[in-house]
């Protein structure tokens, strides 16, 4: 089936909204969708959802003869499959352009960055080595497949444990999990892909949805690890925008988010692996937990693709607001004032709005204090920016130059 063409009004509206720095799902321009990771009962199996985009990854291994060019290294294969379930225009069993592209990007991000110690996967040099295979299946398409696939691949690799082997002369014994404890892979650093999309007017957004991807003019995917090092870069454009225009504005945000994301992945992997080591029955973060059984309200907010930025935040505090409204009309006015105050600098930091809201409802008798609160926050944000600049100064720029070369090569 063909993909439905983009209508003029969708295109115009998204562009208009981006002009006004709003996104249809209520996010800030440089804000990613929430990431959820659930593990299966086998080693190296996980479902990752990035907003409504979903991917499944499974790592498997077998023993093969290593490549003649690298006789003392194991092998790593990455295979991304665009399952026809994800979108009606994906075809089964056919290597399409987008799937090749995603495959390439992930290979560059995970394989070429040498984040996995392949030498430790060699059993007998030139004869036997482990061959790792990462299968990633995209099962729901809502834009930004690369990021979702890269998170899934990394989480699965971190989670994966291979069976232990002992080699005597000429013979290799593979121990079952019951005989000897399985071993995790050695991972030197943890790269993830972070995607950005540039629009006609030059605004850049992070983690685009399907609709945004159709409207945008240039796509940039950076593979970054938690040490703020660039591992891969991919720039795909329709109109003339040079990489130099985009990278300086977003590299900082990308590096910060990558660090945040990696720590999230590490934490969820750690929890699951520890539970397994202790042979505990873990009742969160498993496949059965991604089935929403009775979470009516959670499902409710998740399933609305178009919402105001304050929608989700209002949701939690709805009861409070209702009470406030009943108690006193004046309080709402205070709230309104504080909201207006925030807007003056609210463009910088959207989350500030929520904080003051909380402050207000807790200390609604101190009218004057709201100004102070705002001031404090302002300095905070400044601090953040300074920190970032200091941290990134040297490494970032060097890396950028390196990667432009790399970009030309491929």
């Amino acid at each position: 089936m063909r993909e439905v063409i983009l209508s003029h009004c969708e295109k115009n509206f998204v562009n208009k909204a981006i002009d006004k720095e709003t996104r249809l799902d209520g996010r800030q321009l440089l804000e990613a969708r929430p990431v959820n990771i659930h593990f299966g009962s086998n080693w190296g199996c996980c479902i990752v959802s990035l907003g409504r985009t979903k991917a499944i990854a499974q790592v498997s291994c077998d023993i093969q003869k290593p490549k003649a060019s690298r006789p003392n290294e194991g092998m790593l294969h990455i295979n991304v499959e665009l399952n026809p379930m994800a979108a009606p225009f994906f075809e089964a069993g056919r290597q399409s352009d987008p799937s090749v592209q995603i495959n390439r990007q992930l290979e560059r991000c995970l394989k070429d960055s040498k984040c996995i110690d392949l030498e430790s996967l060699c059993i007998v040099a030139d004869k036997k080595a482990w061959n790792l295979r990462v299968d990633i299946n995209i099962i729901n398409h809502d834009g930004n497949l690369v990021d979702c696939a890269s998170i899934a691949a990394l989480a699965a690799l971190m989670h994966f444990h291979r069976p232990d082997v002992s080699s005597s002369e000429e013979e290799i014994i593979i121990h079952s999990f019951a005989e000897k404890d399985p071993l995790p892979l050695t991972i030197y650093h943890h790269p993830v892909c972070i995607s950005f999309l540039v629009f006609e007017n030059g605004n850049t957004i992070m983690d685009p949805t399907y609709l945004e991807e159709k409207v945008g003019v240039a796509q940039l995917t950076m593979g970054i690890n938690s040490y703020r090092e660039l591992c891969s870069l991919d720039f795909n454009y329709l109109t003339r925008t040079s990489v130099a225009d985009v990278i300086p504005t977003i590299s900082n945000q990308a590096a910060n988010y990558a660090a945040e994301l990696v720590s999230l992945i590490k934490e969820s992997v750690r929890q699951d692996v520890e539970a397994r080591y202790k042979k505990e029955v873990k009742n969160f973060g498993r496949f059965e937990n991604c089935i929403a059984t009775d979470k009516l309200t959670a499902m409710f907010t998740d399933k609305i693709p178009i919402k105001l930025s304050s929608w989700g935040k209002m949701d939690d505090r709805e009861d409070e607001i209702m009470e406030d409204q009943k108690e006193n009309e004046q309080i709402i006015k205070i709230n309104k004032n504080s909201a207006e105050l925030l807007l003056l600098k609210g463009d910088l930091f959207g989350n500030g709005g929520v904080n003051t809201w909380q402050n207000d409802s807790s200390s609604d008798d101190e009218e004057e204090s709201s100004d102070e609160v705002v001031m404090v926050e302002e300095t905070k944000t400044k601090c953040h920016v300074l920190d970032d600049i200091e941290l990134s100064e040297d490494s970032e720029e060097e890396e950028t130059q390196n990667m432009t070369k790399d970009d030309i090569q491929t």
Binding site: G40, S41, N42, Q58, M85, N137
Partner: protein, 221 residues
Amino acid sequence: MEGTEIVEDEGILRPMKCELNHLTMPDGSAMFMQGDTAVVAGIYGPVEARVQKMMYDKASIEVVYTPIKGPPCVDDRMREQIIKETCEAALIATLHPGTAICINVQELQDSGGLLACTVNAACLALINSGLSMKFMIGAVNCMIEKDSQKLILDPDTTQIQEAKATFTFIFDSSKKDLVSCQTTGRFTEKEFLYSFDKCKEASQCVFQFFRSIVTKYATRI
């Protein structure tokens, strides 16, 4: 995980879990778990058929089964065929001539009874897609143990290793007739008929579960 699951008594199915409309892109989708075996199914249909596969008098049904690791193998193709033929029996394909109904199934985890789980997931996804069906289909898996000759319904991976023969029966919901059946191993006619009866009884649990899931969703919206 091995060992963590309670060994069920004879005649009880493993706990089932399901979320309808799990995915946003497909017209109907379901994530279905039976014990630790998990499957996601997504359906598009009726959609435009490809010229080679178009039938002028009814919808063509295409099934794609994707294993969790590696490229699809012969077993997976066979599963596709079984799902296709069972769904053809259940769907009223003549209502949508010249179109295609695409059933996509993704394996998430196999710990026994994968085929049964796959068929049940496909049926739930069909229910969710709102396509017209003659009846529902429900699959039950069972095995005969090598040593004790005991019948175990819905076995898990560890139990299956002790199996002499395994059966997967697929029933319809209106007349409770057999729609399709898949067996492995050697068994006598008596054993076959006995397991058929037991599975037929157990299929009521499956249909009851389908109904409870739909009731939950129908009353919510």
